[in-house]
């Protein structure tokens, strides 16, 4: 029989000292994180690809990879900021193209300098995104179905207005950005993606709006009852998504030296895959409430790298996709194995 403890009224600070705890340090948490896993995979595959084909690390290859990754990263960011609300934006491509075409029109038809033209394009992106947000909030319908419909309307309106014609008279200064090399390997586009990534990270970590968007995404009802204007936050997230999509679109304009209606394929659907790959590999929950900007960045980068590596290895042209799929599976499984190994052996 146990002793009945008497009169022990220990004074303690329950927040830190009780019960006996083995606190996880920030470093340990990082080792368990998705981001660390992605870094490991990126290093691993770099070694593999480089040892098979030394050209993989050539200046041109690295430059081209960074440039392609930059666009995929921006597309991923665009979807990410909506995913964190627990929603989706099928219209990233449609909005991206609409904004980019508007930017092209401003430069060609209205003869604007590229800076205000880009600004105008971003505004269009914000407006189109906000339109989605308002419709989702007002109707109470899932963003999937709303953005599915508006993607068709927006893209269709763009095709109707432009009659599917491209705008070629892009200011040379702007299209130079798409070809410029910093230190022989770095594209200004990748630099832009990094800067935007840092800004997003800051916004979702330190600003009220960012945090409120996350809260709304995690549990809309609880957020609403805590005094957060959930509808407004969802609208903000969609507007931001629109802006980021247009950044991706403008990157393509700069790179192609023209604004073309087909830059994201029919209805902008070509962007859907990269839009999901980055955020999902990056560990953002599709149910919302959790964001990983670095994860999205690394996820998009990993996929671009795998594709580049596979193309370089000259596996049978038609089979590339199979190998890409298998590599993705392997990547996911490796990461899983890493985490369960660490956990099982209590290494973290």
């Amino acid at each position: 029989m146990a002793d009945i403890e008497q009169n022990s009224a220990p004074v303690r600070n329950p927040v830190t000292a009780h019960p006996p705890v083995r606190q996880m340090t920030a470093v340990q948490r990082f080792f368990l994180s998705n981001e660390f896993g992605l870094i490991v995979l990126i290093v691993l595959f770099t070694i593999i690809f480089a040892s098979i084909s030394p050209m993989f690390l050539s200046n041109f290859s690295l430059y081209a990879m960074g440039r392609t990754a930059a666009v995929n990263i921006m597309i991923g960011f665009s979807m990410m900021v909506v995913i964190v609300t627990g929603g989706l934006n099928l219209g990233v491509g449609a909005i991206g193209v609409c904004g980019a075409m508007f930017g092209g029109w401003l430069m060609q038809a209205a003869g604007l300098h590229w800076l205000p033209a880009c600004f105008g394009a971003l505004i269009v992106g914000a407006l189109l995104g906000a339109t989605n947000g308002v419709m989702i909030v007002k109707s109470g319908l899932h963003s999937f179905i709303i953005t599915l419909a508006t993607m068709s309307v927006m893209f269709g309106a763009m095709i109707f207005l432009t009659q599917a014609e491209s705008f070629r008279e892009i200011s040379p200064a702007f299209s130079t950005l798409g070809r410029m090399k910093i230190l022989a390997v770095l594209s200004p586009m990748l630099l832009t993606a990094i800067v935007i990534g840092v800004l997003l990270w800051l916004a979702f970590k330190f600003t009220t709006v960012g945090r409120e968007i996350l809260a709304a995404g995690a549990n809309a009802r609880a957020a609403e009852l805590s005094g957060i204007r959930v509808g407004r936050m969802i609208t903000y997230a969609h507007a931001l998504s629109g802006v980021l999509a247009v950044v991706a679109g403008l990157m393509l304009v700069s790179r192609t030296g023209a604004a073309i209606p087909s830059m994201a394929g029919q209805l902008g659907q070509d962007w859907l895959l990269p839009a999901f790959l980055g955020p999902v590999l990056g560990g953002n929950l599709l149910t919302g409430g959790r964001i990983s900007v670095l994860g999205t960045f690394l996820g998009a980068f990993l996929v671009t790298m795998l594709t580049t590596g596979l193309l370089l290895m000259q596996v049978g042209a038609f089979w590339v996709q199979t190998y890409l799929g298998l590599l993705l599976l392997i990547a996911v499984l490796l990461d899983l194995a890493r985490r369960s190994y660490l956990a099982r052996n209590k290494l973290v």
Binding site: D3, V15, V21, A218, N219, A222, L225, G227
Partner: protein, 508 residues
């Protein structure tokens, strides 16, 4: 040879950063009701989850009838005759009551067509037994919370287990439903079932249990001991290491002070037609009523989460049109502590700090709308400390905290919000006795500091301890007012009279 049905020896379980159970022993005998007690976060639910195959223990072992018992899944535990009503609700909302009750047996023969008429008939038996007034074909999502709890109990009973564990089954039940449950518990006990009963209501424990195990900080404070001979204070001392301190406050009358919140003939979409009340500065106004009397709905209407369809709401004497909780919080400094912490009160996937701080972000933000976690920490940690929220750190995911500690945070975040009017709905459901006293103290402190509190609780002793004045609500109407002179018998009698009086009127 062991005389026990079930034995746990030195069971240990750690979560990242937390030792939830530290060499815990437990012995159950057939035909007895075993109380499992302890403060919030002591490890009760963890032990139960290990016994039912939800978690795996790290060390120690368990036996049933002398053979090793180490369930790897819920199915194995059920097969071994261990049934459970978990602390958190676990139903399939879109499924009918009957399907939920028989969910365990449903998957036994995957290809045998379900005979729905028969399923409904079988379910009737359990519904009748627990006096649940619901059609077996109703979807569970259409039921009120208390009934869902009863459905869960029916579900556990339907398994006809040898060991049945009830983790705070009465937290959201009325007295009547609790009595019903107890008569069933007694019958099962007499049939030789071994029951485990978890509750923070010690009166219930003393009424129904014959053995007791107390956990403290994940360790046995006592181990499978007869309850007989242990008084309330003995148990309390085992749980918290000292005797209970029941705060008492003298009678207070704030009716001559300014009115902070006034309702004039308020009608709501939820069903109120004509509610008038005034809450004075620094007053604790109780709103008592039976389950379903419309108190929560009234609170939601006041804070703008539900539609007000008529009448007037005045804050500090001026009529206000509050259309959202944000309005209520930022424009009118009104807060609301929800009774449903899981879906309305907390964001389970976020950290303790994010949950406690959610109401202060806007207050702390600088010119560009940014704030630092440190400033939030500074704002919330006094309340978090005061309530002794048991968490390895403020960065712990709140979903990993014990139920009672979650409840504390859902109260804490509104204490941190610095509002002038606070509506508190059932603040101590599932909260241990020590914390309950802290919560009461906090409410009083708030009132003393000038905050006006509208306290909704179905816990009569709590009401009599804390409120200055009590309004009685029944069927969406205020039936009467009671001045609280802390005379429990008189006050409770008067309250019940208002309720019964109204039902007599209604019957006429």
């Amino acid at each position: 040879m062991s005389q026990f049905t079930f034995q746990a020896h030195a069971v240990t379980k750690t979560f990242p950063g937390v030792v939830a159970l530290d060499k815990v022993n437990l012995s159950l005998t057939p035909g007895s009701v075993h109380a499992l007690l302890g403060e919030n976060g002591a490890g009760k639910s963890t032990l139960i989850k290990i016994m039912t195959g939800v978690h795996r223990h790290d060390a120690g072992h368990m036996e049933i009838d002398g053979t090793l018992f180490a369930p790897q899944s819920t199915r194995e535990a059920i097969a071994a005759g261990v049934g459970v009503v978990h602390q958190e609700r676990n139903v399939i909302p879109r499924f009918s009551v009957a399907e939920n009750i028989f969910l365990e047996t449903l998957s036994a023969d995957p290809w045998k067509p379900i005979n729905y008429p028969k399923l409904y008939r079988d379910a009737e038996h359990w519904l009748d037994l627990l006096e649940i007034d619901a059609d077996p074909s109703t979807k569970v999502e259409d039921l009120p919370v208390a009934k869902i709890q009863l459905v869960e109990i029916a579900k556990a009973l339907a398994l006809k287990s040898r060991i049945l564990m009830l983790d705070e089954p009465t937290a959201s039940l009325t007295q009547h439903e609790t009595e019903r449950l107890f008569s069933i518990v007694k019958r099962l006990r007499d049939d030789g079932v071994s029951l485990v009963f978890v509750s923070h209501k010690l009166e219930e424990v003393q009424e129904i249990c014959d053995q007791v195990t107390v956990l403290r900080d994940g360790r046995n404070a006592c181990e499978s001991q007869p309850l007989e001979g242990l008084g309330r204070q003995d148990i309390v001392r085992l749980m918290i290491g000292r005797t209970e301190q029941i705060p008492t406050w003298s009678q207070r009358d704030c009716r001559d002070r300014d009115v902070a919140l006034e309702l004039r003939g308020v009608a709501t979409q939820a069903g109120h037609t004509d509610v008038s009340l005034s809450l004075h500065k620094g007053e604790v106004l109780g709103l008592y009523g039976l389950v379903g009397s419309g108190r929560t709905e009234l609170a939601k209407a006041i804070i703008g989460a539900d539609k007000v369809t008529g009448g007037e709401i005045l804050v500090e004497g001026t009529p206000r049109n509050i259309t959202s909780v944000a309005d209520a919080l930022h424009q009118n400094r009104i807060g609301y502590v929800s009774e449903d912490r899981k879906s309305e009160g907390l964001i389970l996937m976020h950290s303790v700090l994010d949950n406690a701080g959610i109401t202060v972000w806007r207050r702390l933000q600088n010119a560009i709308g940014a704030f630092t976690d440190r400033s939030v920490e500074k704002a919330v940690s006094p309340v978090v400390k005061k309530l002794e929220v048991r968490t390895p750190s403020l960065h712990q995911t709140i979903g990993n905290l014990s139920g009672g500690n979650q409840q504390k945070v859902s109260v804490a975040k509104w204490l941190a919000a610095n509002v002038s009017i606070l509506i508190i709905d059932e603040p101590t459901v599932g909260v241990d006795i020590k914390t309950k006293a802290y919560v009461h103290e906090l409410i009083r402190d708030l009132a003393d500091a000038g905050t006006s509190v509208l306290l909704i609780t179905s816990d009569m002793p709590e009401m009599v301890t804390v409120a200055d004045r009590i309004l009685v609500m029944d069927e969406f109407q205020i039936r009467g007012e009671v001045i609280n002179d802390r005379d429990y018998d008189r006050v409770s009698h008067e309250i019940m009279q208002h309720i019964h009086g109204s039902s007599e009127v209604a019957a006429e």
